[in-house]
Amino acid sequence: MRRARLERPDRRAPRALLAAPLATRRDPARGESSAFARLAVVAAIATLAACSSPAARAADSANAGAEGDAFTRANAADAAGRSAEAADAFAAIVRDRGSSPEVLLNLGNASARAGRTGEAILAWERALVLDPGNAEVSANLRALRRRANLPEAPDDAWSRLVARFGADGWARIGSGAWIAGWLCLLAAALAGDRLSGRPTLRRLVRLSLPAAFAIVALAILAERSALADLERAVVLGDGGGLRSAPFASATQGQAVLAGEIVVPERTHEGWILVTTAAGKSGWIESSRAGRIGELPGPSPSGD
């Protein structure tokens, strides 16, 4: 299974902390009189880091070990046919440790086997957010949608292209092309007449500039689509049809199936106005819809 490129801001922080005093050391504006003080700060922070890193690493290792145990136990439960128990365990891992494509795949598998179609579709859609184009997850989605009589996901060329790289992939492609475009422009300007004797290089520079900005334009369009896809939600549980108003006694209209993809329009006191793929609008309880772009994980405060 391919791994998504994941950022770990918590592990970047100590590096940034060390970089700060080192940077000030290069500051020529400060006199040599403060050199000793700066060295003292660096030494103190280095000592602090040296003392704290093993502890932090040990804690991380312990957490990883605990997570691995929980993950193994959840897999064992799924293999033993206790799919509901496994789904709960995978959901707890995601809630406590954060989301990963692998855990979300297993969460979807266990949910599907436990008959929780909505939860399974939501988990797999979220796995594709982290790992766009994952063939196993895509195949699972197709199979379950077929089995549950759910509408197939759009399969036109544009949708496939957008889904191939996802929101972050298109952001990186666009950024790369943006930088490359300006660098090409800069290189062409600085090279000036020196390019006149090298027609091939000159042509290459001239072509690369519009090509780069065409890629930027494509990436912007794809990014917009990908972000819109993240706003979609998955219906969880069979709880009746779309209601005409945001309250329990409102008239029910067309049924919505668990696992259906809907587009939230607005919310109102525990209700959410959604539009289905068939274009029907109505209200459902907020608890019945899980937004694809809201990946579950531990709260920032660590609660």
Binding site: R8, G98, L105, Q254, G297, P298
Partner: protein
């Protein structure tokens, strides 16, 4: 025209002044008796005043008013002026019955005038109208019905009450349904002949216990039918419903149409008809109306699939099906793959059709298959599902391909049916090339064949247990790196801001390049650069000569340096400058000491260069500081 006229305020308006002295009001309805679905016209007239507040028509259950129109007229007869204001409505009868138009009040210049109540009789379609009323069919109420003719039918059972303007009907088989089955049916919108309807869309089905399948991008079927002696235009929308849970559930449908009704009253114009309500005011076809057409809700009983008799490998297929199988090629070498094709045809939820899966055994190695649905109707309920699978014989004595079984539930018979394909004969020859045959001892039955053996290396890997069990990819065994608090890159703080950096860098580079080009193009700057370059070159030559103790070379380089420092002032070639020319180039305002120093240096240099004797290297020490000072003065910008 037969009308009811009620004079509230007395008599005809007459006065010697320009307008009548007293205002009067009267209300009329015409005709007094109509059929359901037809319209009558209500007019309220007030005379003797030039301004009055319009009356408000209270809602009347069963009568649907159209938009109110107003007309004001003035008459002058023999110098006497009269005025009249009239308001009118068309009333569409939605159901049979006797209706009373309640009194309406009008404020005419501070005087409140009230109309008398009016009565209107609406008779049901098919019922003979009383004398004086026009005949015909119609009725605005609409009702759905269950069963009846199927989609596209143009007949309606005798005795059925004909719809008024439009009706909607849900047509599905008249039986109990089962959870998960696909039931084809239709929604039939009947529109009375002569009614113009625009923007007919798919009627809405209301029922939270069903999913509905509609054909994509397909125009509804259209036909005509005669109901109760009247012609109707039928618009038929095919649908398939699928119950999702057992129980007794309602299924309703509704449709909003915009209809323009024909003017019924033209056919019944009588001597008392008022031209006020003529087509001049209401248009040739009458007023457009928004009609909410509802089908009579159906109460459907949905049953769960019976547990009794359910095969263990039942896939959920419900309907009526047949099965057949082929195997190609019919003759293969041992170990070569055979494509087994299983075709299940019929009507039902084709997406749930799944033959009992084959498993690898001692006779056959089985590879994952593919399937596709080929429907013959727009709803995807009728057609075939084709399964193709590669199977590889493991023994040469096999005579037939493995048979395939398929189970489904027949909702009409209310029982599970198990089908099995007929055996398909095949011929298996030993492998060519002397390769050992699987099963002949070289390869254990069911074990993977060696790559390249008997052509099975190109075949996909055999099915894993997990995937064959529920079509899902196997679970990951590594939890991966968790992501906390994920946000799209573009929504993270600073992501977009740092994109300004290459823009700023590029713009700065462009500015610098432009500046460099302008600088290169400036002739004064170019001369200055060249002078600087030459000065550095001469300084290097002097330094080398000094190091080598070559006084001749040092004086030669120093002379060139002095000449090149002075030449730009004169605009002459540096080599052509002698002592006099050099001093002259310094100009009239020159420092006399500088001129003397130049003259003295040229003399020394000439002596060193042209005296024909080797100059003492000590002369360099004598002249070095003086030449440095001289060059400093000469090279200093003016």
């Amino acid at each position: 025209m037969l009308a009811i006229a009620v004079a509230v305020a007395g008599g005809a308006a007459r006065s010697g002044s320009a307008l009548a002295a007293e205002a009067s009001i009267r209300a009329e309805i015409s005709p007094r008796e109509i059929l359901a679905g037809e319209t009558a016209r209500l007019v309220v007239r007030i005379t003797g005043t030039r301004s009055a507040s319009p009356p408000s028509l209270p809602p009347i259950d069963g009568l649907e008013p159209g938009a109110r129109s107003q007309q004001t007229s003035f008459n002058i007869v023999n110098g006497s002026m009269s005025s009249e204001i009239a308001w009118s409505w068309s009333l569409l009868a939605m159901r049979p019955g006797d209706f009373v138009i309640p009194p309406m009040q009008v404020d005419a210049g501070g005087t409140t005038l009230t109309t008398e109540p009016l009565s209107l009789r609406v008779v049901a379609a098919g019922q003979p109208p009383s004398s004086g009323a026009a005949g015909g069919a119609g009725g605005a109420a609409s009702a759905g019905s269950r069963g009846g003719p199927g989609p596209g039918s143009a007949t309606v059972p005798a005795g059925e009450e004909p719809p008024a303007v439009a009706s909607l009907e849900i047509r599905i088989p008249d039986r109990e349904l089962f959870v998960g089955e696909s039931v084809p049916g239709s929604l039939v919108l009947a529109i009375r002949e002569g009614v113009r309807v625009s923007d007919v869309e798919q009627p809405q089905l209301v029922g939270d216990a069903f999913t509905v399948t509609r054909p994509n991008d397909r125009q509804p079927d259209q036909t005509t039918a005669t109901i109760g002696g009247r012609n109707y235009h039928l618009v038929i929308f095919p649908i398939a419903i699928s119950p999702i849970r057992p129980g007794v559930h309602d299924l309703a449908a509704s449709e909003v149409i915009h209809a323009v009704l024909p003017r019924e009253r033209d056919r019944r114009r009588g001597p008392d008809d008022d031209p006020f309500s003529d087509s001049f005011f209401s248009g040739f076809f009458g007023e457009p109306r928004k009609l909410d057409v509802k089908a009579r809700p159906l109460v459907l009983r949905v049953l769960p699939l019976p547990a009794e008799g359910r095969p263990a490998d039942f896939s959920g297929a419900i309907g009526r099906f047949t099965i057949e199988a082929t195997a190609t090629p019919a003759s293969v070498a041992l170990g070569d793959p055979i494509t087994q094709r299983v075709i299940v045809r019929g009507e039902g939820n084709l997406d749930r059709v799944e033959p009992v899966p084959l498993a690898s055994d001692a006779d056959w190695k089985v590879y994952p298959g593919t399937s596709r649905v080929e429907t013959t109707d727009p709803l995807g309920v009728r057609g075939a599902k084709v399964f193709e699978q590669a199977i590889v014989p493991q023994r040469a004595d096999l005579a037939t391909a493995p048979t395939r079984r398929f189970n489904y539930f027949d909702p009409a018979e209310r029982r599970y049916v198990s089908l099995e394909t007929q055996p398909v004969a095949i011929a298996i020859a030993p492998p060519t090339g002397g390769a050992a045959a699987p099963g002949a001892g070289s390869t254990a039955p069911g074990a993977p064949a060696a790559p390249g053996a008997a052509g099975v290396d190109a075949a996909p890997a055999p099915e894993t247990d997990t995937r064959s069990r529920d079509e899902l990819a196997p679970n990951a065994i590594d939890p991966g790196e968790p992501v906390r608090d994920w946000k799209p890159l573009v929504r993270r703080p600073g992501w977009l801001a740092w994109h300004l950096a290459p823009l700023v860098l590029a713009l700065a580079g462009l500015g610098w390049a432009r500046h460099a080009r302008r600088r290169d193009a400036d002739p004064a700057l170019r001369i200055e650069r060249e002078a600087r370059r030459l000065a550095e070159q001469r300084d290097d030559e002097m330094a080398r000569a000094r190091s080598a103790g070559d006084a001749g070379a040092w004086f030669s380089a120093a002379r060139r340096a002095v000449q090149e420092a002075i030449a730009p002032r004169r605009g002459a070639a540096a080599t052509s400058l002698g002592a006099d020319a050099a001093v002259a180039a310094l100009g009239d305002g020159r420092d006399l000491r500088l001129g003397d120093e130049v003259r003295a240096f040229f003399a020394a240099a000439d002596a060193a260069s042209y005296a024909g004797t080797r100059t003492d290297p000590a002369a360099i020490a004598t002249w070095e500081s003086r030449v440095d000072a001289l060059l400093r003065d000469l090279r200093r910008p003016a």
